[in-house]
């Protein structure tokens, strides 16, 4: 079964067509990078996949079922979405933020059960945040806060993670930390992830597959190695790039 299937998906806002008749299949069990220039529609595509936005026309299915046919809480148990800018969590402790991830399972009134507490503890541990549970989210460092939000997504128990530029505000150490976490998650527990990324080298290092967009149209879909050629990069970024290899990793640099 495919993770996502898009059939002739179009999204229009007054005066502009953001996504134009997009057909696409995304595969489960791997990390997929969404690549493209600013304004190419990658964040929009991620919002469409998460059900945050409905397409103007066309159909999106997740695990063989149209997104529109998923009840909201069922979808939240299957899909976790991290917006590009995480909102301030005023006065909230880290553990409380992660606990919010259990909402799709327990609703507004249900009491948390032992398995909920186990999921929360597991998520905090996996993200390397043990010991920070009582800290206020707004006082954490950028990397810790981002991992806190990812821990909330893990506590959600969703098998698919959708992340919109999760590393754009982080230093390189935190970038590696966050992407490494997502990659491990998919390798070890069979989760799927779709990540909007700006940095092709980070994509090459941590992602398995790639979808590249130009003006709302798909120009590339395949294994990440397909992206790391001067011709493909020139097509996506309209910029001459050199590709070199060092210690088994491929790098792209502006020529």
């Amino acid at each position: 079964m495919t993770l996502f299937t898009l059939e002739a998906v179009t999204l229009e806002v007054p005066g502009r067509r953001l996504i134009a008749r997009l057909d696409l299949i995304l595969h489960p069990g791997c990390v997929t990078a969404l690549i493209g220039r600013n304004g190419s529609g990658k964040s929009t595509l991620l919002r469409l996949l998460s059900g945050q936005t409905r397409p103007t026309s066309g159909q999106i299915t997740h695990l063989g079922r149209p997104l529109t046919a998923w009840p909201a809480r069922d979808l939240a148990r299957a899909l976790a979405y991290l917006p590009q800018v995480t909102p301030p969590a005023e006065g909230m402790r880290l553990a409380e933020l992660v606990t919010l991830g259990r909402y799709p399972w327990r609703g507004a009134l249900g009491r948390l059960r032992p398995e909920d507490h186990a999921a929360i503890a597991m998520a905090i541990a996996r993200c390397g945040l043990a010991g920070l549970e009582e800290r206020l989210v707004d006082t954490l460092s950028g990397g810790e806060r981002q991992r806190g939000w990812i821990a909330m997504m893990l506590a959600q128990g969703a098998r698919t993670l959708l992340l919109d530029e999760p590393i754009s505000a982080l230093d390189i150490a935190h970038q590696v930390e966050v992407l490494g976490l997502v990659q491990r998650m998919c390798r070890e527990t069979g989760l799927s992830a779709v990540i909007v990324l700006h940095d092709v080298n980070m994509a090459a290092r941590f992602c398995d597959r790639v979808v590249a967009l130009v003006s709302g149209q798909r120009v590339l879909e395949g294994p990440i190695a397909d992206l790391m050629t001067p011709a493909a990069l020139a097509r996506v970024y309209d910029l001459p790039m050199n590709v070199t290899t060092h210690a088994g990793h491929t790098f792209a640099l502006p020529a």
């Binding site: 998460s50 059900g51 945050q52 909201a72 809480r73 069922d74 979808l75 939240a76 148990r77 899909l79 976790a80 979405y81 991290l82 917006p83 909102p87 301030p88 969590a89 005023e90 006065g91 909230m92 409380e96 919010l100 991830g101 909402y103 799709p104 609703g107 507004a108 009134l109 206020l136 707004d138 959600q156």
Partner: protein, 656 residues
């Protein structure tokens, strides 16, 4: 198309004015005007010394207010700033009312020095707070509205204490443009010319300042003296108009917004177009009223109408306008400390509430002075007092609870039933019921006010909640609705209809006329709201994180928003129906709860509920005792108690 709006509106205004002028003196006789007052007959005098200067005054005052608002918005980089929202106009009003009532000899030098003093002090208070919070627009507006509210409450208290001044002050509050000679016109014109020159000088430095204080310093401009002089100019202009004409709200807010909506990009253009827009707006409003009066309608003060035109216009312009907020400017408001033991604080609050309720039940001020109620009077007095206290507490709890829910829903510390125009809508519904129904009973009035509140909320929901709620946008929409309601109500007041006094009595708010059954109903509703808020804690925790996160977690965001808004509207409606649109308890109580460190949804909403009840019990006590044997308005006392307290709290928290 857009370019033609202002000239067309100006033409319409001129046409309407001619229509009205024609009614007092037919156009054919105009060439025979002698132009010398001592040789004129009454209709000729009315035209040349009344209507003509009035038209000129409207244009000049509108231009001055528009310029004042544009300057304030430029200095503070705040699309919500204007003489009304910064408390400037209310300060001038309070100074004039206080001088009229307490020390008339102060007017020896004319109105202007007195008005200038009041306007200056009020604005300075707001600016002291603004400087501490990095001039964050929402905080500045909050502080300005608080200062304005407190000043208006004081002014109303003063007028009510000296009952016979009431009528003249109602008219003064509404901003009457009626003229009997050319002196005010000359004064305003003499002020406008140097004011325009000064703003031309300030335009380019202000443009540089719009990059922010750091950017301006990098370009060799020091921000403080520039801000001070531009602000002083704006305050001076507003005080001048206040001194000559009274309170004409909203022009200073609407004119720059209109200028932006008409595509005036860049500060120098906006400083030029805003006075023009203000002039056209006020002139159009005044001409409309003149025609209405000439056709036999009521003679209404113009200030009452500016909101009528300005409110809907602003609502129409809002979608086109990007209410920009400088990035990071609002971070100061998010810094709060969290109480280590919220349960203990809530228990303490509940204890304080019960103690205060018991104390005010038994103690008070009777004909024999202060003391505990004597045993022989208990049987007759206590049930009455208990009913009033219960109604006040329940109403306060309902308002504060819905304020807390709205704040969580919008993640906006400014959201409150009063700010969002809900109480204004309830007041309109009440007034409509009084006027439409021949003999309205409690139930009819309750339904009318509730319907008004719900309609307002539904309109606001349809307008602002369709997309993600930008705080500044929602706020402007609410302010517009509030101004609309206020202007309709002051028009009703000024009409002199006897039924208006019923509405006025209710507007001020009084818990003493409530029946025991109504008080019990209110208490049951308040308890139901408390139960709901406890049950909805998890939703209220997720919603402030924004619609994206809430949707990703599977919350039915649209339905939830609608439901919570209706809940808040019903709670507000229920409270306002019985005790009047009490001022700002719904805004103050949640702020006080937050400043006590109660931030998590359940402690926050419960503490707001308790503080709202406490505030209103205290207000009811003050209302009963301060003016004994007469009752002071309840809402006024609530504002007087809570306003300064909240202001000090905001001030004390300091820079983040």
């Amino acid at each position: 198309m857009r370019r033609a709006v202002l000239p067309l509106a100006a033409l319409a205004s001129l046409g309407l004015w001619l229509l009205a002028a024609q009614a007092s003196l037919p156009l054919a006789q105009w060439p025979d005007l002698p132009w010398q007052p001592d040789r004129m007959q009454l209709p000729q005098l009315l035209l040349t010394q009344g209507l003509m200067p009035r038209a000129v005054v409207a244009v000049l005052a509108g231009a001055l207010l528009g310029l004042s608002g544009a300057l304030m918005q430029a200095v503070l980089r705040n699309p919500l700033a204007d003489p009304t929202t910064l408390g400037t106009a209310a300060g001038a009003q309070l100074a004039i009312v206080a001088a009229t009532v307490l020390a008339p000899q102060l007017f020896a030098g004319g109105n202007l020095p007195v008005a200038l003093c009041g306007a200056g002090v009020a604005t300075a208070l707001v600016m002291v707070l603004a400087a501490r919070r990095g001039f964050a627009p929402v905080t500045v507006t909050l502080a300005g509205m608080l200062v304005g509210m407190t000043a208006s409450a004081l002014a109303t208290a003063l007028t009510l204490a000296e009952g016979h001044y009431l009528l003249s002050l109602v008219i003064w509050n509404g901003g009457a443009l009626t003229q009997d000679d050319w002196h005010p016109a000359a004064t305003l014109a003499l002020a406008l010319i140097p004011a325009l020159a000064a703003s031309a000088l300030l335009a380019r430095p202000l443009l540089v300042l719009s990059l922010g204080a750091e950017g301006a310093r990098g370009l060799g401009l020091s921000a403080a003296p520039l801000r001070l002089s531009a602000l002083a100019l704006a305050v001076g202009l507003s005080a001048l108009v206040s001194a000559e004409l009274g309170l004409i709200g909203f022009i200073g807010l609407a004119a720059p917004a209109i200028a932006r909506g008409l595509g005036a990009r860049g500060l120098p253009r906006r400083l030029l177009i805003a006075p023009l827009a203000g002039a056209v707006l006020l002139s159009l409003a005044d001409s409309l009223l003149l025609v209405l009066a000439a056709l036999g309608g009521p003679n209404l003060p113009t200030g009452a109408l500016t909101g009528l035109i300005g409110g809907p216009l602003l609502l129409w312009l809002l979608p086109q306008m990007q209410a920009h907020v400088p990035p990071g400017a609002e971070t100061g408001t998010a810094q709060s400390t969290r109480a280590p033991a919220p349960g203990r604080r809530m228990a303490l609050l509940a204890l304080v509430l019960l103690t205060v309720a018991m104390l005010t039940l038994f103690a008070g001020r009777g004909p024999a002075g202060w003391g505990v109620i004597p045993p022989e009077l208990r049987e007759s007095f206590l049930p009455l007092r208990a009913t009033a206290i219960l109604a006040a507490a329940a109403a306060g709890a309902l308002l504060a609870g819905s304020g807390a829910v709205l704040q969580r829903l919008t993640a906006n510390p400014m959201a409150a039933p009063e700010v969002l125009g809900v109480t204004g809508g309830a007041a309109l519904g009440y007034a409509a019921t009084v006027f439409v129904h021949p003999a309205p009973g409690q139930l009819a009035l309750a339904l009318g006010a509730g319907l008004g509140a719900s309609l307002t909320l539904a309109g606001l929901a349809a307008f602002a909640l369709r997309r993600d709620i930008a705080p500044a946008r929602l706020l402007l929409a609410g302010l517009a609705i509030g101004a609309f309601a206020a202007s309709v109500l002051s028009a009703i007041m000024a009409s002199g209809d006897l039924r208006a006094w019923v509405v006025l009595g209710w507007l001020a708010g009084s818990a003493s006329a409530v029946t025991p059954a109504a008080a019990m109903t209110l208490a049951v509703l308040a308890l139901a709201l408390l139960g709901l808020m406890l049950a909805l804690g998890r939703w209220l925790e997720i919603l402030p994180l924004g619609p994206d996160v809430a949707r990703a977690l599977g919350l039915p965001v649209a339905r939830l928003r609608l439901g919570l808004i209706l809940l808040a509207g019903l709670a507000t409606g229920a409270a306002t129906i019985l005790v009047g649109p009490v001022s700002f308890v719904g805004l103050m109580a949640p702020h006080l709860a937050r400043s006590l460190g109660l931030i998590r949804p359940v402690p926050f909403t419960v503490a707001s509920w308790l503080i709202g009840a406490l505030l209103m019990v205290l207000a009811a006590f003050a209302a009963r005792t301060l003016g004994s044997p007469y009752d002071l308005p309840l809402g006024l006392c609530a504002t007087l108690i809570g306003g300064p307290w909240l202001f000090i709290l905001l001030l004390g928290k300091g820079r983040a």
